[in-house]
């Protein structure tokens, strides 16, 4: 079983939903449409051949310049063959809705809450989607790129003074 075989399997069942794929550092990365996340991940988990039965991580992404700005990244792991796969999906900033996978993996619960907390991605069907690390009355999503880390009114840290 190698990346080519897994990709072929994914293409076989979810052909219309795969947007692109790449292999940075030998890790198969498949970008799919958000509507297929549920089916794809439960397929990857349940079938013995891809067999990605362990959810390593979920995290969010933000690319302000692209059309679908917000992204969710899933890392799955097959412990028998020690292979990983990365699934990405992108949604627009106005309607950032991705189906939840908490019914497939219990561990997705807090990971999705964290992603919601920082990027504002709504996980449809999540049992308890509220902020986890930040305070509940925070009214913005701090990991989005428009929130600069430093106070924009400060002028003593101008990049020009550092030759940048």
């Amino acid at each position: 079983m190698d990346n080519k075989y897994i990709l072929q399997k994914i293409r076989q069942y979810f052909d219309g939903f795969v947007i692109s794929y790449e292999e940075p550092h030998d890790l198969l990365t498949v970008t799919v449409k958000p509507s297929v996340i549920n089916d794809l991940i439960s397929y990857l988990k349940k079938e013995p051949e891809p067999g990605f039965a362990f959810l390593t991580d979920i995290c969010g992404l933000h690319y302000p310049d692209s059309e679908n700005q917000l992204g969710v990244v899933y890392h799955l792991h097959n412990m028998n063959n020690n292979m990983r796969i990365r699934i990405k999906t992108f949604v627009s900033k106005d309607n950032p809705v991705v189906p939840t996978i908490t019914w497939i993996f219990s561990s997705a619960n807090w990971m999705e809450r964290e992603t919601f907390d920082f990027y504002g991605i709504q996980f449809e069907g999540h049992p308890n989607l509220k902020r986890i690390l930040n305070v509940e009355y925070l009214d913005f999503f701090p990991m989005r790129k428009e929130y600069a880390l430093e106070d924009p009114t400060r002028d003593d840290k101008d990049n020009r003074y550092f030759g940048r």
Partner: protein, 400 residues
């Protein structure tokens, strides 16, 4: 009967009480809050609240050059900082395509295994404390101190070590450091044996821990357990063996597994892992190759301090590296190391600038702590405390 009583029906019903455990409570060893629903002393449900020491490391990392992120990783799991540092450097080296000399790999194994020992020591001795045996804790902390002295000899710092460089180490292990490691290797197994004897077959300890806070292997995998907690429930997944990094595949070591996944099994697995760490350190030290203690990457490896003070070019390089004036290659990387608590992953996206575009830490503690309500449901309050200390949740790692 019913018409004779004037009580309304709600008062017949069983009343649950709500108990607020934490955020600052001496039994929780860190800032954890749990709102417990109790029926007498039995726990019906728990609602953990986290984020009390959230420091926005992922956001800060998007603004910092790569070297300046190392101190942030120190503060994730501060009980085993060298593992975090090395994990971060390995991630950056993977991005840059640097291959390190064997000597660096072996030196890294030595410090990472020392860190694993300190982390497991704290966890195991605290299980003792929470079950009422303070003695082991006070004895074994001498050994933790010995490891911290070794860190001090190698890097100058004790807790948040900031140890190493991209491509290797700041300096070679001094003869004094080697001497201290050797002395530790001779003394520690005896002390560990003594410590284990205090608790392992202790009737009170066994009664308190066997069958408490157990989890099956399926549930543990479903909850994203990794590290000793997963191995205690019987899955032999260890990143050091499964996806070897830093030349771990040169060494032979056993992966201890438990069967019940309860507090006792976690205790035993951690104890055995310390023995395996000793074995690894011993092997690495005996086979420590001759050679350079860093890879030859002048663009990323900081020049020696004496040169920085006396040599103009070295000073320029020092400034450029620290301020991140060298652009990094583009890339997307997930790299995991076996942290003391489980799989510590770094998901790094570089867009070619001086700072990461996105850096996400896969903190094992954050992921498996969500199983805590399930583990303690139906148990007693005192068992809940034991379960928490046996899971070894570190607040810094939990909240990032």
């Amino acid at each position: 009967m019913e018409e004779n009583t004037n009580l309304n029906t709600q008062e017949y019903e069983k009343n649950y009480s709500t108990l607020n455990l934490g955020p600052t409570h001496p039994a929780t060893h860190g800032i954890f809050q749990n709102v417990l629903t109790m029926d007498g002393e039995k726990i019906i449900d728990a609602e953990p609240t986290i984020g009390y020491i959230h420091r926005a490391f992922e956001k800060i990392a998007e603004r910092k050059p790569y070297y300046q992120i190392t101190p942030l990783t120190d503060r994730l799991n501060y009980c085993s900082a060298p593992i975090n540092n090395t994990g971060w450097f390995l991630t950056v080296e993977k991005l840059l395509g640097i291959s390190t000399p064997k000597k660096v790999d072996y030196m890294r194994i030595i410090i990472m295994e020392l860190a694993r020992i300190t982390d497991h020591l704290i966890c195991n001795s605290v299980i003792g404390v929470d079950s009422g045996a303070l003695t082991g804790f006070t004895y074994i902390f001498q050994e933790r101190e010995a490891v911290y002295e070794i860190y001090e000899e190698i890097s100058g710092a004790r807790l948040t070590t900031n140890m190493g460089r991209i491509g290797g180490f700041e300096r070679d292990f001094s003869p004094k450091a080697i001497e201290k490691i050797k002395a530790f290797l001779i003394r520690f197994p005896k002390k560990l044996h003594e410590f284990e004897n205090l608790l392992l077959r202790n009737r009170i300890f066994m009664d308190r821990t066997i069958g408490v806070g157990g989890i099956s292997s399926e549930r543990a995998l479903n909850y994203g357990f990794t590290g000793p907690n997963l191995r205690a429930s019987g899955v032999d997944y260890d990143v050091r063996y499964a996806l070897p990094y830093s030349s771990y595949n040169d060494f032979e070591f056993d992966i201890p597994v438990g069967s019940q996944g309860d507090v006792y099994d976690r205790f035993c697995v951690r104890n055995e892992e310390m023995r395996q760490s000793i074995r690894l350190i011993q092997d690495a030290l005996n086979n420590l190759p001759e050679g350079n203690f860093h890879a030859d990457v002048p663009e990323f490896y900081l020049p020696a301090k004496e040169k920085v003070y006396n040599n103009m070019e070295a000073l320029i390089w020092h400034f450029k590296i620290i301020m991140g004036e060298t652009n990094m290659p583009k890339g997307e990387i997930y790299h995991a190391v076996e942290g003391a608590n489980g799989e510590l992953g770094f998901y790094l996206i570089s867009d070619g600038g001086r700072t990461p575009y996105r850096l996400h830490f896969r903190r094992p503690g954050f992921i498996y702590y969500q199983a805590y309500p399930e583990l303690i449901r139906g148990g007693l309050l005192s068992d809940a405390i034991l379960t928490m200390s046996s899971m070894n949740v570190i607040a810094g790692e939990l909240d990032a």
